[in-house]
């Protein structure tokens, strides 16, 4: 290594109680290892002074408190370098002094030790489920971590969004069940061990439910009847936006969760799988004025939270507080956060929980041009990240189809879920709606610089029934949540196929299985981006609980014995995913024009009924079919086979006239959900030729998919 001259700004200049100090630098915010010491930087618009509080790791009381000298302050930023710290063995926090005047929005309390909002690693919940010390003066403790990592050339994969197949996963729930057979159950390393499974299924994006540090003991309570300890299992309640949850790491007890999560991302990338993080900027874990003071409330309550004119907390999230996302300071924190995860963890995209809140101004009013959403859409570091909005909130702002997108944001298409579910259960009047959803919802996403890539199509998500429960229950059964079955959505658009819950009746069970295949087939041949929930591919059940947020039990864990019990369903889904990946005609970016613009003799998409070229759009119609002309795939730029899909959600079978193909081509059957496994779907490229090229008998409640070549 060549010799260099030392920096001229790394020597201590001051002393305080045996600690050597020097003026710090405002950037980066948080705590950063510098030569000889640690640079601390924290800002507050309204605090009058700030003290750094240092603990030996795990110690009950601080070992030192060092006021930030006022002569080091830059603007509203308190900053200093502290030398001679054993950075691996300390925890740090802040005391902020300022006014306590809730009516004006100030809740400073210098008796509290506050967590650094920019903490890169947080201790205090190092091992999942380990009972906390409720008397601890400092619950969630910021720690210092090295930020170096050997990525060995890894970078975000930049898979075009139209080619994505998204798998929504709970990190702990994915492998915590003993049947998972992995060494480090319920952890980032556990996910890595299951990469071969994910590859064989064929998904190329995993969307991780919240992995920012959260408190599983938030709102923990014992169920009065069952005695089960209910926890905050899902984690939609952030304690620290820059720190990965320690208890999701096998090495969390050693504080090595940063390296472990980066290693997971690197392994997923090496196997062609992207990582999207589910991020929760709509509220924090501090709740309202009755909740704990962990960080923001004590650092700068008025800046970070949307407050009513008399200082109470607006509650557009339904959880007690609402983060003030369009305040310029908070907006910068959100930007810093996302840039940090994109740059330092190579994250490929973000799904924003209750994203309509991100478009509200500090007093809750919806903005036409929300600065935060615009900033994120145009940021250079985030430029290739997928941005996905759950385009509603708990305050009634429903923006599916109208989310301020700036040509970049995609949306969870709730109308896809609703439309397909209603069609699936046999509702009347649905064929028109379904024809829009299959096409990537041009009724919602055409014009305004948006296209089919704005539509994240899903039938299930963590909110609501699993796929298996959607076909097994008419009603939710959330008694195990201890809220008298009042929680969870009542609008499930589900149908139990003739019996509520588990049954031995073979016909009902066969119908349920077929309905699951119908749902997944429809999802995977639709334009837009498909998302499934972990376990849907093997019929994971939550026994009718459609809001299992508080269950850290086998109710919500992935039971891997289902892989052996339902190989037929798993095989069907894998082949459908493979079919989608084999056919660019299913993965357009632009919407269909419903015309023949390449001169093939066929429009890019055409609609059919039981009679070819004659779709039945009437209210009582429950059959609709479409034909994709292979020469129009990707706007005519990528030749593909012809694809014909018939959706029969009628309780009767239909004899269907198949549209004719060009001379020299023949129809082959890719899938028929009415056929018994393994003939319900074939390996793409090996589909058998249809004997009768003119007519097909489509069974009741069945989907057939043909490929023409």
């Amino acid at each position: 290594m060549s010799l260099t001259v030392d920096r001229i700004d790394i020597q201590p200049t001051h002393n305080y109680g045996g600690f050597r100090l020097r003026p710090g630098r405002p950037f980066p915010f948080g705590a950063t290892l510098v030569p000889g010491g640690v640079n601390f930087s924290v800002f507050s618009s309204h605090a009058v002074s700030c003290t750094l509080v240092l603990f030996d790791k795990h110690a009950p009381q601080p070992m030192a408190e060092i006021p930030f000298p006022d002569e080091f302050r830059i603007g509203n930023v308190f900053t200093m370098v502290v030398f001679d710290l054993d950075y691996e063995n300390i925890e740090y926090g802040f005391r902020m002094d300022g006014p306590f005047d809730p009516r004006v929005g100030h809740r400073f309390d210098k008796t509290k030790v506050l967590l650094d909002p920019y903490a890169k690693s947080i201790g205090g919940r190092d091992v999942w489920g380990q009972a906390p010390n409720w008397d601890d003066v400092y619950w969630h403790r910021a720690r210092l971590v090295p930020d170096d990592f050997d990525w060995e050339g890894d970078r975000p994969l930049e898979i075009p969004i139209q080619d994505a197949v998204i798998y929504e996963m709970h990190v702990r729930g994915f492998t915590q069940h003993p049947s998972s057979g992995v060494k480090y159950r319920g952890t980032y390393a556990g996910v890595a061990a299951k990469i071969p499974y994910l590859k064989s299924l064929g998904v190329n994006v995993v969307e991780l439910m919240p992995i920012f540090e959260f408190d599983e003991f938030e709102n923990s309570r014992i169920h009065p009847d069952t005695g089960e300890q209910l926890l905050n299992y899902w984690g939609y309640s952030t304690v620290g936006f820059f720190a990965p949850k320690a208890a999701y790491a096998a090495s969390g007890k050693f504080g090595m969760q940063v390296d472990e999560l980066k290693t997971l991302v690197k392994s997923l990338h090496a196997n062609g799988i992207e990582v999207i993080l589910d991020v929760v900027f709509n509220h924090t874990a501090e709740g309202n004025e009755m909740g704990p003071t962990i960080s923001f409330r004590g650092i700068d309550n008025r800046t970070y939270y949307m407050l009513t004119p008399d200082g109470y907390y607006f509650n557009f999230s339904g959880t007690g507080n609402t983060l003030n996302c369009n305040n310029p300071i908070v907006r910068n924190m959100v930007l810093d956060c996302l840039r940090y995860w994109a740059a330092e963890y190579h994250i490929d995209g973000f799904r924003f929980d209750l994203a309509a809140i991100l478009g509200r101004d500090p007093w809750g009013a919806p903005l036409a041009n929300p600065p935060l959403l615009e900033t994120l859409a145009f940021d250079p570091i985030l430029a290739k990240c997928k941005l996905i909005a759950e385009a509603w909130d708990a305050g009634g702002l429903y923006q599916v189809g109208s989310f301020p997108a700036y040509g970049r944001w995609a949306e969870w298409n709730g109308k896809f879920r609703d439309g397909i579910r209603r069609f699936l259960k046999g509702d009347s009047g649905m064929v028109g709606d379904v024809s829009q959803r299959i096409q990537g919802s041009p009724d919602l996403y055409s014009g305004g610089n948006r296209d089919a890539t704005a539509s994240i199509n899903f039938i299930t998500a963590h909110d609501g029934f699993t796929l298996a429960d959607m076909v097994s229950y008419n009603d939710k059964h959330n008694e195990a949540n201890g809220e008298g079955n009042r929680d969870g959505s009542n609008d499930n658009d589900s149908w139990n196929c003739g019996w509520e819950g588990p049954t031995d009746d073979p016909e009902i069970n066969a119908l349920r299985k077929r309905q699951m295949k119908n749902a997944l087939a429809m999802l995977l041949v639709s334009q837009g981006i498909p998302m499934i929930v972990m376990g849907d591919e093997v019929a994971r059940t939550q026994h009718g609980n459609n809001n299992a947020y508080c269950h850290d039990t086998d109710l919500s864990w992935f039971d891997w014995s289902l892989v052996d019990q339902n190989p037929d369903l798993l095989g069907f889904v894998s082949r459908c995913i493979a079919f989608r990946k084999a056919h660019p005609a299913l993965r357009n970016t632009t919407h269909f024009r419903n015309t023949d613009y390449v001169g093939s003799g066929y429009p890019d998409i055409s609609w059919h009924g039981v009679q070819a070229w004659n779709a039945d759009w009437s209210a009582e119609s429950r059959f609709i079919a479409f034909l994709l002309c292979g020469k129009h795939a990707r706007g005519g730029t990528t030749p593909d086979n012809y694809i014909y899909v018939a959706l029969n959600m009628h309780w009767d079978a239909q004899t269907v006239e198949i549209p004719r193909l060009p001379e020299g081509m023949a129809w082959h059957v890719f899938a028929n959900t009415g056929a018994a496994s393994p003939e319900d779907a074939w390996e793409p490229g090996q589909e058998p030729r249809l004997e009768d090229q003119r007519h097909i008998f489509v069974g009741p409640r069945s989907v057939v998919i043909f490929v023409g070549r």
């Binding site: 054993d86 950075y87 691996e88 063995n89 971590v145 090295p146 170096d148 990592f149 050997d150 060494k183 480090y184 952890t187 980032y188 390393a189 890595a192 790491a249 096998a250 090495s251 050693f254 504080g255 090595m256 390296d259 472990e260 980066k262 290693t263 690197k266």
Partner: protein, 111 residues
């Protein structure tokens, strides 16, 4: 933390005893690299290392890179199971050949 260095032929056997953390790892690295010539063959005997922190793991990888950059090789001996598990999940294990004894390590280096 102690570092003892012996030679078996042209193989350098470095015995480390004690914890490898933020304060001891830099010292250990300095001593290991001080005797590493070009294309060195190095055995790091970690049998007597009960614990490695993040800094310790980084020291290992950094030492590995510096030795292999000059055409040398490193083999680790006697890594405790718990440390091996931690190295595996944090991405530090895959770079290394691990053996149980110094003899096996010397054989691995010469092979």
């Amino acid at each position: 933390m102690n570092v003892t260095i012996n030679n078996i032929g042209d193989v350098t056997v470095t015995l480390i005893s004690g914890e490898l953390d933020g304060s001891t790892a830099p010292v250990a690295q300095q001593e290991v690299l001080a005797v590493a010539r070009e294309a060195a063959l190095i055995v790091l005997d970690l049998t007597a290392v009960p614990y490695m922190s993040s800094a310790g793991l980084r020291m290992l990888l950094s030492t590995y890179r510096q030795v292999t950059n000059t055409g040398g090789k490193i083999v680790l001996v006697g890594v405790a199971d718990e440390i091996k598990d931690t190295m595996e999940v944090t991405g530090f294990l895959k770079f290394f050949t691990l053996t149980d004894t110094v003899d096996q390590a010397v054989t691995a280096l010469k092979g």
